[in-house]
């Protein structure tokens, strides 16, 4: 599969990736390497210029990079997370009790229960990021796509996100694509890492990473 924006140069060249259900795939690479683009292609938000993408999962959730920047509506944390639940709930009328419960649970998982009814814009950047993580979780996704979810999130919250992802991955068989420059707490259970720099330059177990690339954020070598 290859891709270019409009008539621009190829941003991704001959990418071939196969991800099994329930896999946890860490994706790293330099700025502009095409990580976000790859995720958008997987999610069907962009069409490949050549080649094809097949998706077996039906329930998808996407946490975009810098998600907070796109929202200036007077939305509360609970309303935001409820929006994530919308595809799982009935389409018309108010939210059912079971769905409200799922929303509350997702908010608890990211530790925002005391801020649940505050406006998103009054929270810190890291708290906003956590609210978006809760929004993605509320959809009970089969495929969870996270683009730099821990940017601006403190170590403690990174730890609890890692624990949560590990649980989703192990117990619920959720497939996770996780883009980051720094895997931190997630590192201990990453089984597969993909380095993207205009093409896939590495795809394998973290232990097999060539020495020069060992810090995934410095994959320029």
């Amino acid at each position: 599969m290859s891709f270019a924006y409009g008539h621009g140069p190829l941003v991704l060249r001959d990418v071939e990736l196969e991800v099994e259900r329930g896999e946890f795939v860490a994706i790293a690479g330099p700025n502009g390497g095409g990580k976000t683009t790859l995720l958008r292609l997987v999610l069907g938000l962009e069409e490949p210029a050549s080649g094809q993408i097949e998706l077996a999962a039906e329930r998808l959730a996407y946490l975009p990079q810098r998600a907070q920047a796109g929202v200036d509506a007077p939305v509360t944390v609970r309303e935001l997370v409820a929006a994530g639940r919308a595809p799982r709930a009935r389409f018309l009328g108010p939210l059912r009790q079971a769905d409200r419960e799922a929303v509350r649970e997702a908010i608890e998982r990211v530790g925002l229960e005391t801020q649940a009814d505050r406006r998103l814009s009054t929270l810190s950047g890291g708290q906003q990021q956590r609210a978006f993580i809760a929004k993605a979780l509320a959809a009970d996704p089969e495929l969870l796509v996270l683009d730099e979810p821990t940017t601006g999130v403190d170590v403690e919250a990174q730890e609890s996100l890692a624990a949560l992802l590990e649980q989703l991955h192990r117990e619920l068989d959720v497939t996770i694509l996780y883009v980051s420059h720094e895997f931190g707490a997630v590192e201990r259970f990453v089984e597969r890492i993909v380095l993207v720099r205009g093409e896939v330059v590495f795809d394998g177990a973290p232990a097999d990473l060539p020495g020069v690339w060992h810090d995934p954020s410095h994959a320029h070598a």
């Binding site: 938000l45 998808l60 929202v71």
Partner: protein
């Protein structure tokens, strides 16, 4: 004042439009499409002109042409063939130019176009009110039923699309609702001012409110209060009701600013 039939009809139409315009405007403002109402208003003008030319009911031709215009703005925007504001500009100017050409072709440049440009709520008839109330209630019901889905699109359009919500359909529906609102509101505040009634109450409400839902409810309250105050003041002070209504809504924004600052 209320013993006069035309005033009762004016208040009836005003109540519907005062509630509906901010309810639809709410979703436009949150999607940063505040000016779409203006664009559709200009298209509605072409619709009115077409009605004169074909000798058809003006509200119906305005409604049909507005919906067509709203859907083309939405299509151009969604396909990204043009940036949002360029799509708007294209439809905006085509509408007003088309209107001028059609009106002069109909030999109607001297007719009461002024009524449509600036509103003429005091000339609302019983059958007008029936149309306004019927379509207005249907539009409000639709918004109430689809509220959660519309909010999901507003807070994260791509996320909603990825999750499988019918985003394009919901966006087209919002555009169509805006067109209906404008066609119904022409008589109340006029084509040139209708967008103000869709946008200003929402801006005022967002300054004070603490959530999406409270913003929506408050905006509808401010819209309603603006229309009722506007008509009443206009009646006693002998002012144009449309302009007076919009000035009241603008004042609401000015008042909301310090209240919002105090709350924070």
């Amino acid at each position: 004042m209320l013993d006069l039939e035309f005033m009762r009809l004016a208040f009836g139409a005003g109540i519907v439009v005062g509630l509906l315009a901010p309810a639809v405007g709410f979703f436009l403002v949150q999607r940063r499409l505040s000016l779409i109402g203006d664009g559709i208003g200009h298209v509605a003008f072409a619709g009115v002109a077409l009605g004169y030319l074909l000798n058809l009911p003006l509200v119906l031709t305005a409604l049909a042409v507005s919906i067509a215009g709203a859907l083309s703005i939405e299509t151009l925007r969604a396909r990204r063939t043009a940036a949002g504001d360029q799509a708007l500009a294209l439809v905006f100017y085509t509408g007003i130019a088309g209107g001028v050409v059609l009106v002069s072709a109909a030999g109607a440049l001297n007719v009461n176009l002024f009524q449509f440009l600036f509103g003429s709520i005091l000339t609302v008839t019983r059958s007008d009110l029936a149309v306004i109330a019927g379509l207005g209630a249907a539009a409000l019901l639709l918004i109430a039923l689809l509220y959660r889905l519309l909010v999901a699109v507003v807070v994260d359009e791509e996320g909603a699309r990825v999750a499988g919500l019918p985003v394009s359909l919901l966006n087209a529906l919002t555009a169509a609702l805006a067109a209906v609102t404008i066609a119904l509101s022409m008589r109340v505040v006029g084509i040139l001012l209708i967008a103000a009634l869709m946008v200003l109450p929402v801006i005022a409400a967002a300054r004070i409110a603490w959530s999406m839902r409270s913003t929506m409810v408050l905006a509808m309250g401010i819209g309603l209060a603006s229309v009722l105050t506007g008509i009443t003041v206009a009646y006693y002070a002998d002012l144009p009701p449309g302009g007076t209504t919009v000035l009241v809504a603008a004042a609401a924004v000015l008042v909301a600013e310090p209240i919002g600052a105090l709350r924070r």
